[in-house]
């Protein structure tokens, strides 16, 4: 069963109505590594549960044995961020293990230490397989060989996507200067730059931009030709270094848009942070050097602040919600405030491009965290194509994966170093922002909430190759597309699961979400999904599908009757030729 095998545990405790079904499901190439009976799972909601625990090279599987009906716990090892033995063994030899997960929960087990001290505990096996990278093993994605009808690695073809946007054109060309990732190892091979700038000049610009991440085009407005351009910070430093090729490049970007004699540079950071970066050689564009450009800071905080915010959020929502101070507790995490700033930044970018017909350059420090958050959200607002299921996949492949968001580092796939300061929920934040938009515009997105949750679950699961590595170059080097399955193969092979039935595809429609905190809400179906008191609200989508079925059925009956009536009319008219027949109003059909 393809779908159940690849679905990340969707409930904390899954009930098996038929006890025999509580067996361990195995994926192709998945093998049990160890199992133990008599493990106690300390469920924060219902108390201790005894059962057996199995560890495979992909998942942890707990099946309770002392309760009816049988239920279990099934999670990919990839979601584990740490596994820790807590305290010493009790007098009875019980040892506690704490498992912290990347998906907003903690698990705790109690298990008797094996009496034979040479034998490994199941949890030691778990630690080994939970962190394959730290143990010099490969991630399960490289072993998983499921074949899907569709090949998700073919979803994104950069040239086709640029062609969709009408590129190259008289102002923009596709440069091959980064074909071998020599200009910038974290950028994609295909880059869109102004025709007036030579590859040699680009090379010089790359030495002026952090990590060589030069300003290149992300998206162009089909009518006004205003462009969304992304980059990293300029290496201005304390002495105010300048680079005439960089200045020329920005001028060329502005010139490529005849509608406006001005451009905006959006620096995602708070101005204080941007200024502080000068000490480290970075900084921001000075108005002297870039005369027609206006610089705007968007006040979005860095990865460390976001990580801390999510940590606090987890404390507030897991395992239980404090009834009396929920709202102020939520406020104190600042999570929604960060979401608001990101959305507000993207909104300003989209507004400039759409309403101001002005080209914009977006950067933060390295241009791989806040920058893709902003550009991809702005693109979703500007271009309805990115609100379709495939379009959204292309957007992720392009703005996040090919432009080098450091997924490996930010998520820490298979790495036991949970305190790594490079980890941060940047991508989760982006998906949260998209979810907020889907709430405000329930008919504007082709995908449903389940699609977003699936993406997040497989961000951590390491079942698919999609989110592995830090850059396009690394993925090519590791031959990820060759050795792993793309998440989109799985998704696109069962699209109906992910479709929003309320979707109305109206093209060339720009979405301007309202970013006030009043209209943002905590994504409870993601962050609080483990709480058994939580039940998703009545799914309107489900009702809608039922109505669709009803309509189809009625239609069928109407058409049958129509045919009958037509036959009757035909036969009667043949009998009494020439007599006028009662005309039957044609029935409109809707599907």
């Amino acid at each position: 069963d393809r779908s159940s095998g690849t679905r990340v545990s969707d409930t904390e405790l899954r009930v098996y109505k038929d006890p025999s079904k509580g067996e361990l499901p195995l994926l192709p190439e998945e093998h049990v590594q160890d199992s133990a009976k008599d493990v106690t799972y300390i469920c924060p909601f219902i108390g201790p549960v005894r059962g057996s625990l199995s560890v495979t090279n992909y998942r942890l599987f707990f099946r309770c044995t002392d309760r009816e009906p049988v239920f279990g716990l099934d999670l990919p090892l990839g979601v584990l961020s740490r596994v820790e033995k807590i305290g010493a063994a009790t007098s009875r030899g019980d040892v506690s293990y704490g498992l912290a997960c990347k998906d907003m929960r903690n698990l705790r087990f109690v298990h008797k230490e094996p009496e034979d001290s040479l034998k490994k505990s199941v949890f030691e096996v778990l630690m080994k397989f939970a962190f394959p990278v730290s143990n010099n093993m490969s991630l399960f994605a490289f072993e998983y060989k499921q074949v899907f009808p569709e090949n998700g690695w073919k979803v994104y073809d950069p040239l086709a996507e640029y062609k969709r946007q009408g590129l190259p054109n008289e102002s923009w060309r596709i440069s091959k200067v980064n074909d071998h990732y020599e200009l910038c190892d974290s950028y994609p091979a295909a880059l869109v730059v102004p025709v007036t700038i030579t590859d040699e000049e680009l090379r010089r610009v790359s030495s002026f931009r952090a990590k060589g991440r030069i300003p290149v085009l992300s998206w162009i407005h089909p009518e006004s030709q205003a462009a969304v351009v992304r980059a990293s910070q300029p290496m201005v430093g304390q002495n105010g270094r300048r680079c005439k090729e960089d200045e020329k490049l920005l001028q060329a970007i502005m010139d490529a848009n005849a509608q406006s004699h001005k451009m905006f540079i959006f620096d995602a950071r708070p101005s204080v942070n941007a200024a502080a970066n000068k000490m480290k050689g970075g900084g921001y564009e000075s108005e002297d050097a870039y005369q027609n450009a206006e610089l705007v800071f968007l006040d979005i905080h860095n990865i460390h602040v976001m990580r801390e915010s999510l940590r606090k959020l987890k404390e507030v929502v897991y395992p239980n919600i404090e009834d009396s101070h929920w709202l102020s507790n939520l406020e104190s995490t600042h999570w929604l405030e960060h979401i608001k700033l990101i959305l507000a930044g993207a909104l300003r970018i989209a507004d400039k491009v759409e309403s101001g017909k002005t080209s914009v350059v977006v950067h933060c420090s390295d241009g791989w965290d806040r920058t893709p958050q902003l550009t991809s959200l702005a693109l979703i607002m500007l271009d309805s194509h990115y609100r379709t299921i495939r379009g959204f996949q292309i957007l992720l492949e392009k703005e996040w994966l090919s432009f080098g968001h450091r997924f490996q580092q930010r998520v820490g796939h298979g790495d036991k170093n949970h305190t790594d300061a490079d980890r941060s929920p940047i991508f989760l934040q982006f998906i949260d922002c998209v979810w907020q938009m889907t709430r405000q515009f329930p008919a504007a997105f082709e995908f449903n909430e389940y699609f977003l949750i699936t993406i997040l679950d497989h961000l951590y699961s390491c079942l698919f190759g999609t989110f592995l590595c830090n850059s396009e170059q690394q993925r090519l080097k590791e031959e990820v597309p060759k050795h792993t399955v793309s998440l989109w193969s799985f998704v696109n092979s069962q699209l109906e699961e992910f479709v929003n039935p309320l979707y109305v595809g109206y093209p060339s429609h720009v979405l301007f979400p309202t970013v006030g905190i009043r209209h943002l809400q905590l994504w409870v179906t993601y962050y609080i999904r483990w709480n058994p008191r939580m039940r998703p609200q009545e799914p309107v989508h489900q009702r809608y599908k039922e109505l669709l079925a009803k309509r189809a059925e009625l239609q069928k009956r109407v058409e049958e009757l129509q045919r009958e009536a037509a036959n009757r009319t035909a036969s009667s008219s043949s009998e009494r030729a020439g007599s006028p027949t009662r005309s039957i109003t044609p029935v409109q059909t809707f599907v």
């Binding site: 108390g47 800071f297 395992p319 009834d323 709202l327 209209h519 939580m534 079925a549």
Partner: protein
């Protein structure tokens, strides 16, 4: 709706709205009298500048404050009593006059003097609107006069000065009574309109007794003529075992002689009863016992009676009023950006959401007693006229799917609020006499219903627009529903009024005020379709047409992320864990896990919690019991009601209405197909265009099918209301608001964004 489309792009999406409308030049009826007016008045529209402001005439009548714009084209009006710029006097909360040159400001009451010439008038409305008029070009004297008139007429000295009396009274004049009324108030209407039971006759109660199978209960008529209790209706229901003689005897022991009232019977036979406090402490025990044993006798299983003390467990009316005032402060009075920063904690400290939750939770407790313990419940409240109304309605909405249809919901409000004597006159403070008595209990109830609706959108026949409009109708003082403290007061006032105005009532015993349920008093049939929930209507269609195929039984979807814990053992065992370990290091999971664990151990699930948990582990039957999700994270602010006037909080071309649009169109298509089927199946003679007239959906299927129509551009999260001109936050003594509102950085405006430097 014919609209003059505004040129300014900013208002592109606001230009069309249905329920706020263009000024009607013809007044509501001859009963409406112009009291005072001022010309060359400016109504403030835009926050940043005055260029969008409207010039016109400000008129004060005995019904409303009206603004007649000079150069607007007449538009088709959809509210039948109020124009686009009208505010009923009863909706005016506070009249503030300002002279910004002299730096003076005064809140005007009735019969007051004003020592300065106002340059500005600010009206704070009970429905959260804030409306401003400028008198820069108006004659100073006429400006002053119109302000004083508005202040005076919005503080009527006597209930009979409320517009409803004139409005209804005029209909009797020069006629022989009832025939000239738009429609009879009571029960059956020849026009086929009013199907809502009003519970002002014994037959409505009889039907309710039969419907709920309460065979051991009877209609009691001892209060006819209101001889026993001043605040009870003439007809109510009591246990059959209590004779009229007993009831008369007990009556004097209760507060305001309120004999306990039967509300509803659960299918198990358990009754829901409401009761006021027993005022005589010496009799308390005895009377309580008699009542309880009578209720027990009326239970088929002779089950016990559970008393639920509402005063002890729920906020009182002053708490509720204080909460609403704070909520209003953060929703509409504080500047958007200012309140934005601390929105969540301010919302929490307003306590409104907490109260909503408390009421819902209390109702769930009562449901548990009825549903699971099979006992009858007495709702006990000192006067039995406020909190009991909320709780008894919520209990019935949760337990009884019948109450979730539009007409039964209205009947429910009739039964538990209007007839039971909720003091609408005092709680609405229509006379603005006693602020201590003012309390938005009914609005709180509507919010609780909205929460249920929001969690089970397919379970109710009505929409949130309906709930919002119902709340607003409290401030249109012509409906019997919201004008009086109890049925007796209505009878007395209307008798007095009739005799003082020499109105010949004919066979009527009292003036016939229309109930709010006569929606055609306010809206056209087309606009009333905004009340119909397509999910519910579609479902009815499915069931009716499709007896055997039950497409609507709920299936748990695979995307159900909650944990399913059906059938867990009830007792939580502590497991076999020894007391735990020692701390290893600071940054360990230990601390948190330990607290997890202790929570587990301390958590003693009460039987009612278990009842709730069991409910949530089963698939929901929308035609059965519905319990609300009570986690604080699952209750939301009722944005349509509280934020509809806030321009910055509007989602242009978005919001739930866009989904509603699509559902509405689909349901309309289904209705259309069914009509066609009926046609083919021999119901000959049904004209083909019948559909267009009788469709229950506001948004119709298009004539070009095969594709989903895009939602119309004018839709926004505020639809069908519009913030334009309805929320002008006052500056400090008349300073242009632009200064305050420029702070709203996140609200999109190319100009302001361009000029700003951070």
């Amino acid at each position: 709706v014919c609209v003059k489309k505004r040129k300014k792009q900013k208002f592109r999406t606001f230009s069309m709205h249905v329920l706020t409308l263009y000024m009607v030049k013809v007044y509501v009826s001859s009963s409406e009298i112009v009291v005072n007016e001022a010309n060359f008045v400016r109504k403030c529209i835009g926050a940043e500048s005055c260029q969008d402001d409207l010039w016109g005439k400000l008129v004060c009548t005995n019904f409303k404050v009206s603004f007649i714009a000079h150069n607007s084209l007449p538009r088709q009006c959809t509210h039948r009593l109020l124009g686009e710029h009208d505010i009923p006097l009863a909706c005016v909360e506070q009249v503030v006059t300002v002279n910004d040159v002299k730096g003076k400001q005064k809140i005007l009451g009735s019969n007051q003097k004003l020592k300065f010439n106002p340059t500005e008038l600010i009206l704070y409305c009970k429905d959260f609107r804030i409306i401003r008029f400028r008198f820069d070009e108006a004659g100073p004297e006429s400006a002053k006069k119109v302000c004083l008139a508005i202040a005076h007429y919005s503080h009527p000295a006597d209930p009979q000065l409320l517009f409803g009396f004139e409005y209804v009274g005029k209909r009797y004049h020069g006629s022989t009574g009832r025939k000239t009324l738009m429609r009879p108030v009571n029960g059956v209407d020849p026009g086929g309109g009013l199907q809502t039971p009003l519970f002002d006759c014994s037959s409505d109660w009889d039907r309710e007794i039969k419907r709920t199978g309460a065979s051991e209960w009877r209609v009691c008529t001892i209060n006819q003529g209101y001889f026993i209790s001043p605040s009870l209706p003439e007809f109510f229901v009591v246990p059959v075992s209590l004779a009229d003689q007993d009831l008369k005897q007990y009556a004097c022991c209760f507060y305001s002689q309120r004999i306990p009232l039967w509300c509803w019977n659960h299918s198990s036979g358990s009754a829901l009863v409401r009761m006021s406090n027993i005022s005589d402490p010496q009799q308390q025990r005895k009377v309580e016992q008699r009542i309880s044993s009578a209720i027990t006798k009326s239970h088929p299983l002779r089950s016990d009676v559970f008393k639920s003390d509402l005063d002890k467990n729920l906020p009182n009316i002053q708490d509720i009023q204080a909460a609403l005032l704070k909520l209003r402060q953060i929703c509409v009075i504080d500047s958007f950006e200012e309140s934005e920063e601390k929105w969540l904690s301010s919302l929490e400290s307003s306590r409104w959401m907490e109260y909503v939750r408390t009421f819902l939770r209390h109702a769930v407790e009562v449901v548990y007693m009825l549903e699971s313990r099979h006992v009858s419940v007495i709702l006990l409240e000192k006067e039995d006229r406020d909190l009991s109304c909320v709780i008894s309605c919520l209990v019935q909405l949760m337990c009884d799917p019948h109450c979730r249809s539009l007409h039964s919901f209205q009947g429910l409000i009739q039964k538990e609020w209007v007839m039971a004597g909720h003091r609408f006159l005092d709680r609405c403070n229509h006379l603005k006499r006693n602020d201590k008595e003012e309390s938005p209990v009914f609005l709180l109830f509507l919010d609780c219903v909205w929460q249920l609706w929001n969690q089970y959108p397919a379970a109710f026949e009505f929409t949130e627009v309906y709930l919002t409009v119902l709340g607003d109708s409290m401030w249109v003082p012509v409906f019997s529903t919201f004008l009086f403290n109890c049925p007796r007061q209505r009878a007395e006032h209307s008798r007095d009024f009739a005799s003082s105005k020499s109105i010949h009532l004919g066979q009527d015993q009292a003036l016939c005020f229309p109930p709010v349920w006569d929606w055609s008093q306010q809206f056209s049939l087309k606009d009333q379709t905004l009340f119909n929930n397509p999910l519910y209507v579609g479902k009815i269609a499915t069931c009716v047409q499709n007896g055997t195929v039950k497409t609507f039984t709920h299936r748990r979807s695979k995307k159900n992320y909650s944990s399913t814990l059906r059938g867990l053992p009830s007792a939580l065992r502590n497991g076999s864990l020894g007391p735990n370990d020692t701390l290893t290091r600071r940054n360990s999971l230990m601390l948190r896990l330990r607290s997890d664990l202790s929570q587990v151990r301390e958590q003693q699930e009460t039987p009612s919690e278990r009842f709730v948990r069991d409910f949530f582990s089963r698939p929901v039957d929308l035609q059965g019991l519905l319990l609300p999700q009570l986690l604080p994270s699952h209750l939301s602010v009722w944005k349509l009601y509280f934020l509809r006037w806030v321009p910055e909080a509007q989602i242009p071309q978005g919001g739930p209405i866009t989904a509603f649009h699509k559902l509405s169109v689909l349901t309309d298509e289904i209705e259309m197909l069914q009509n066609q089927l009926r046609q083919y199946q021999g119901a000959a003679g049904t004209p083909n265009n019948l559909h267009a007239e009788h469709s229950k959906m506001y948004f119709k299927a298009t004539s070009t099918p095969h594709q989903s129509p895009a939602p119309p551009e004018y839709l926004s999260s505020s639809f069908p209301f519009s913030p334009v001109g309805n929320l002008c936050r006052p500056g400090i003594l008349g300073t242009p608001l632009s200064k305050l509102l420029n702070g709203a950085k996140i609200w999109l405006s190319t100009e302001t964004l361009a000029n700003e430097t951070i």
